[in-house]
């Protein structure tokens, strides 16, 4: 289940399938759930992830060498979605692995694996449109992205194709570096809200508790991804999950 509008801030976190290894992915997800995370992106590793920064690019390279793939993502999703029915799993991928699988078949398998939504940064709304009815039928929510330089008419168009939530890219650039949540950001969020009632998920550059405090009360979801993968790479999945638990607590505490 996706959050509803005006709910308190939820943290979404991340898993690059195959990184650090396929076996560890399962434990890492158990750890995230224990830490209180209820929204998890399963990223299909890709050889050319153009919307990602160095942390996720490097994780993708390693994940591919360790057996990460679209099929492996489905297999992992089947296991963890059954084990954690309270968690919403979202598939994040670039278009090519989905395209090679065959788009309609891929949507079916995504649904069968218990995945509730997809985020595909290089799948523009006009190219996705012919497939929207099938996604609707199978209950796979297309979560599209808007960015600070997206024109208002296009925000409306993207929002009307989206389901579940709308992914709000916080700033210009790829995943991983930090963001300022000043006045400009507030104006941007207000502009997006004019065009949709969908819950908003803000991503790209959410890395600290301060970032979460800044987003609390403004949007429904904060995507805390690159920083988590960095912790995972440096400290191991267990310690990374402990840090995520602190992150989740910090937004309830304040």
């Amino acid at each position: 289940m996706f959050p509803t509008s005006n709910e308190s801030l939820k943290v979404m976190s991340h898993c690059v399938v195959g990184f650090p290894s396929l076996e560890e992915n399962e434990h890492a997800i158990d750890g995230l759930v224990a830490a209180g995370i209820r929204l998890i992106e399963l990223q299909v590793p890709f050889s050319d992830p153009v919307a990602d920064g160095p942390v996720l690019v490097n994780a993708c390279v390693k994940a591919l060498a360790r057996g990460g793939s679209f099929e492996a993502t489905l297999a992992l999703a089947r296991k963890v979605s059954r084990r954690h029915p309270e968690v919403t799993f979202v598939l994040m991928s670039y278009l090519n692995p989905i395209y090679q699988y065959g788009i309609p078949a891929a949507i079916d398998e995504i649904a069968n694996a218990g995945i509730e939504g997809i985020i595909v940064p290089d799948w523009p709304v006009e190219a996705m449109r012919p497939h929207l009815p099938h996604m609707e039928k199978r209950g796979v929510a297309p979560i599209l992205m808007v960015t600070p330089n997206t024109a208002s008419t296009r925000i409306a168009e993207i929002a009307s194709a989206s389901r579940g939530m709308l992914y709000v890219v916080s700033r210009m650039g790829v995943t991983g570096s930090s963001t300022h949540w000043g006045e400009e950001f507030q104006i941007y969020i207000a502009r997006v809200k004019k065009h949709t009632n969908l819950p908003l998920a803000v991503g790209f550059g959410v890395r600290t508790r301060e970032d979460l405090q800044a987003l609390r009360g403004r949007v429904e979801v904060a995507a805390f991804c690159s920083q988590y993968i960095e912790w995972q790479a440096e400290l191991g999945s267990e310690r990374a999950a402990e840090r995520m638990a602190q992150v989740v607590q910090s937004i309830h505490a304040a």
Partner: protein
């Protein structure tokens, strides 16, 4: 002349980019559409290529080699004589005019052989722009002379050391930079690939090659050539050479890909022939990619850094699918042989990329009649390949020279460390 319906060429092309890049591509598309129908703009472009790059480049007959091979008469279109040594400058000059109109202050580029990076660094210096060039770390090593020049010209060269460390990874990195900098930065894409409008835009500027071949052939041969041959990395020099002959069915058009070491995965860059490559969507567009069943783009190889790209121009993919352009390939060793032939018979030192076109063109010419004419597009000159060639044709003399040069350089560095005010400092302190 090619032109697309919404950036599509048959089933290929399109614009599959993260949302953040869309406005910049739409802006570029608008400017391109305006200028495309503006004859004055084309004249401004031609003037720039004449004044800065040395156009028109000659059409050179190869009498000794043609006679020795015993087939058709062979001609070279001399893109190697452009300033900076390759056809890449044509596109860079054209895009520089667009940058001027857009008022942007910074340009970025990806480069394989370094010729596109060099051309970009040159135009940045001339126009007073900031330039960042992304280059696979493996290509940095293979084409170091170009890296050296780009840096001396004031450009920042960023080695990309993940993935396959070659051209495709440099392209990814340039797209990432652009996503963060679209407001003040133009991405000077170096070949007829990537999201719309780049494939069409780059072809539009390279078209100057076939316009000249056409006029020169009429004058020097008295007729259109029977065949035009070009190497294919991304496809920009090939499309440039083919463009004005697309509606001339009597002119055979042949693209030559890198056959590398073998047709095993990772050992070549053959995308247009057989089923080694398949349709895919990546790096912002749909084309034939070397990839696995999971849609992961594959490794490639070529002796020529500028040809080991994993995709290919959607315009060419479509022309081959429609049967208008033929494709063949040349292996690393065939390429080295063709390279030597041209040097020994005609006194011209070709780029390793262009030597693929020579290998394919020579093989074709042999099968043709003496009254027929083949034009091979010599996309670049071979100076940049001196280290690669020296390795391919190992000689004690070269090794001895390198050792002496290392000793001399070490000595100079020691001296300047002891005496920081020496005049060598001058170059970096401009």
């Amino acid at each position: 002349m090619i032109s697309s319906e919404q950036g599509l060429f048959g089933e290929f092309g399109g614009r599959y980019v993260p949302e953040i890049l869309r406005p910049a591509l739409c802006q570029l598309e608008d400017i391109y559409q305006q200028l495309r129908s503006d004859e004055n703009f084309w004249q401004e472009y031609l003037q720039l290529t004449q004044e800065f790059s040395g156009r028109p480049t000659p059409l050179t007959p190869l009498p000794r080699l043609s006679e020795s091979l015993g087939g058709a008469k062979i001609w070279l279109k001399r893109e190697d004589l452009n300033h900076s040594g390759a056809h890449k400058i044509n596109n860079v000059l054209g895009q520089a005019l667009l940058v001027k109109r857009m008022g942007k202050q910074r340009i970025i580029a990806e480069t394989g052989a370094g010729q596109h990076g060099l051309a970009t660094a040159i135009i940045a210096a001339r126009m007073g722009l900031q330039a960042t060039i992304y280059m696979g770390s493996e290509d940095v090593e293979r084409q170091y002379s170009n890296v050296f020049w780009m840096r001396q010209l004031g450009a920042e060269v960023v080695p990309v050391s993940h993935g396959s460390c070659t051209l495709k990874d440099a392209l990814d990195e340039a797209l990432r930079d652009w996503a963060a900098s679209v407001d003040d930065t133009h991405y000077v894409l170096g070949t007829a690939c990537g999201p719309a409008p780049f494939p069409e835009l780059v072809t539009y500027f390279q078209r100057v090659i076939s316009q000249e071949i056409r006029a020169q052939a009429k004058h020097q041969i008295g007729a259109l050539p029977n065949a035009v041959v070009a190497c294919v990395g991304g496809g920009s020099n090939a499309l440039g050479a083919f463009c004005d002959f697309l509606d001339e069915p009597s002119v055979r058009l042949l693209g030559v890909e890198a056959g590398g070491r073998s047709q095993q995965p990772g050992q070549h860059s053959i995308r247009l022939q057989g089923d080694l490559a398949s349709p895919g969507i990546a790096q912002g567009y749909k084309t034939l990619f070397l990839q696995n069943r999971d849609g992961q783009l594959g490794e490639t190889h070529s002796i020529a850094a500028g040809l080991d790209y994993v995709g290919v121009s959607p315009v060419l993919a479509d022309l081959v699918a429609r049967g208008r352009v033929d494709a063949t390939s040349a292996t690393d060793s065939e390429v080295t042989h063709a390279f030597q032939l041209l040097m020994r018979y005609e006194g011209i030192i070709p780029a390793l990329e262009s030597s693929h076109a020579l290998a394919g063109g020579f093989a074709l010419a042999k099968k043709m009649q003496p009254h027929e004419h083949v034009v091979i597009n010599l996309s670049g000159r071979g100076d940049k390949d001196i280290f690669n060639i020296a390795q391919a044709l190992p000689q004690q003399e070269w090794l001895d020279f390198l050792k002496r040069e290392v000793t001399r350089t070490e000595q100079r560095l020691r001296e300047s460390a002891n005496n920081p005010n020496r005049e060598e400092q001058y170059v970096s302190n401009v």
